[in-house]
Amino acid sequence: MIPELGNFSLVLALSLAVLLSVLPMVGVYRNNQLLMTLSRPLSSGLWVFMLLSFGCLAYAFLNDDFSVRYVASNSNSLLPVYYKFTGVWGGHEGSLLLWVLMVASWTYAVSLFSRNLPLDILARVLSVMGIISVCFLVFMLFTSNPFDRLMLNPPADGTDLNPLLQDFGLIVHPPMLYMGYVGFSVAYAFAITALLTGNLDAAWARWTRPWTNAAWAFLTIGIALGSWWAYYELGWGGWWFWDPTENVAFMPWLVGTALIHSLAVTEKRGVFKSWTVLLAIAAFSLSLLGTFIIRSGLITSVHAFAVDPERGLVLLAILLVVIGASLFLYALRAPVVKGTASYTITSRELFLLVNNILLVVSTAGILLGTLYPLIHEAVTGDANVSVGAPYFNTIFLPLMALLVVFLTVGSISRWKKTSVAYLKQQLAKVAIASVLLGIVVPLAITQEVNVPIFLAVALALWIILGIARDIQTKTANKGSFISGLKSLSLSYCGMQTAHLGMAVIILGICLTSHYSVERDVRLAPGQGIEIGSYEFIFQGVERVQGPNYQADAGEVTVLKNGASYLTLRPEKRTYFATGSVQTEADIDVGFTRDLFAALGDPRGEDAWVVRIHLKPFVFWIWLGAFLMAGGGVIAICDRRYRVRESARKDVPGQTTDGLDPSLTGAS
């Protein structure tokens, strides 16, 4: 009964989404207030019924209703109750349901928090989001309905959730990632609205920015959690593999980053308008492309859980309609929203343009690498090439290094025109200090010449010292340092926090990549290896029993400088329902180093191959990502996004005179 209720509310949600995508839009063109006003209640209705539908599926999971096919193939009565709940999004159908629930939630959020938006704009935005919901609800109902029943012979027990997904990471990673993916639909809807109205002013950018920041922050967290999950759950000790799935999440992030910066220019200076619109379209299109690539099974990957050509075709159709229609609209309307202000060669606008070009070019490079096997197959007919990490590193790392060089210059420079003398005065010392310290500090600590490390440390210092210098300048004339800090706008603080996160990530990635010690050794009980000041001693393996699995639990005692330090307990689990084997690494997380141990496979007698890693500063990768996301959140809290329309009208020359004190503090 409950699954039928879920199915019914899904159909109701579709009906409401259809109404939402049609009625307010008709209202706009008929100038009918009533129809436009309907957009709000329709959005809340859509959200309520999606939530109900999601709740019904969760109910089916929690009550082991294996007559529902999706539950039967993604759950098991022995599964711990929290994994039963997360199993809701453990497969194709359910994660699609979560996806649409997220679209509905963003739609509802827009209707809730955009009280100061003119009604006709709100109606258009919500309508466009309604269209997106319609597409995916139709797709779900006709090709992948999570409430389908197994009428004839419902199995006594389910086939179990994929063991890789029985993990805390899965509880939080997909919802965050989807929030980010789908969140770009808001920026997309605003962009389409701008094209429809032909009106793209500072107010438009100001409405769009918090939404874009929010989506970007979610996506940042989602990707970081995915990387963290891969790090400890896949048992390889790696945190980024340039796997197609990672790439398709990373591309919208890169374009989203470009969008955030380009929106800043559009808001403050009224230029890059059509470019901003294009980026908004691109960010959401790449999110859809990611969904399509993963769901269609087009590219082999750990995440490709729906290898079904029919579904792939429907998704491709949605993709083509969304991208095709928006680009067509863009071609027709882009000239209308052109910017007019001028800027010079050393203005912040130009540095942000460089930022955008570098981000978009690296996205294009990653896209090419991700799709290359498909292109190759289409051209030569041979499915026999794959693109590995060296390709992506060669493309991505130099571009990012260049990006960081411009990052500090861009964030310290001023709108419209920055004198070269000012830049020199602000940055000369910073540049010299970061290069010198970048060489001296690693050299003093490690006593070896390692150019990539010098470069990475110098670049990270370039960001950090640049931030310090800028804050020093900005607080210099404010009496005390504290009152100076208080005078900084939240969006400025957000920007600097996110940039600091970038520096932390650079340090984390480089130090981990270069100084990790990774040893795969065959160890009999009592044998051990020494890495640096740590000694790892393998104590052997014993059988233990889990709720729905049986495990070989290893014990590795770690000595530090000869003294007893801690014990790592990596496991090798065999799950009852599927018989599949899963490596559970054990990691001691530290601020400056992680100790990682995972069991390989048994090698005769009581010996095992044990994978032991010492990974310095790997924690900083995720720390940096959280700083970045935190920066995004801080920027959203800026006062000016909450100032009402009526109050803002009194502020003269927001976009033209460049004298507004908040201008210097845009992220």
């Binding site: 082999t300 070009i357 590995g388 390709y391 490596t583 191959v609």
Partner: protein, 151 residues
């Protein structure tokens, strides 16, 4: 007017610059980043240039996995497309889904003794699902059966 032109010029120059950097990087990167995939039959027939990294894919031959009596974490096994076998040597832990009689893909190169020295073993797909590459390899082996196997 001048500022406007300067601005245009700057944009055009940056786009050219970006494109040039990108094209250069892509060319370099594609050169070193692409792994070509070969089947055991193709490897046996000497189609693969020496000292080149590539991927080999096939099935792990039943009863061919040797773990004991080797140095350290070394393991040897035969990968087969049911037509030709190639000996693979690898040092490290085998993935969870590595089984005799299951598909496997390995990254590495052929050493002077004709042994495939694997730097990475990939068997990360789920049990019922065969990687597209392995499937292609087995299909290709079937097709080649008549021509190559009898040589």
């Amino acid at each position: 007017m001048l500022a406007h032109r300067q601005q245009r010029l700057a944009i055009v120059l940056f786009i050219l610059f970006g494109t040039a950097v990108a094209v250069g990087l892509v060319l370099v990167a594609l050169d070193e980043g692409i792994n070509v995939f070969y089947t055991p039959t193709e490897v046996s027939s000497g189609m693969v240039p020496e000292n080149q990294n590539f991927r080999i894919g096939g099935m792990v031959k039943m009863g061919s996995v040797v773990k004991d009596g080797l140095q350290g974490a070394e393991v040897n096994f035969l990968t087969t497309d049911f037509c030709n076998d190639v000996l693979v040597s690898y040092s490290g832990p085998l993935p969870d889904l590595f089984r005799e009689g299951q598909g496997v893909v390995a990254d590495g190169y052929i050493d002077n003794g004709g042994v495939f020295q694997a730097t990475q073993i990939l068997a990360k797909h789920d049990e019922n699902y065969m990687s597209a590459e392995v499937k292609a390899s087995l299909d290709a082996a079937e097709e080649h059966d008549a021509e190559v196997c009898q040589q």
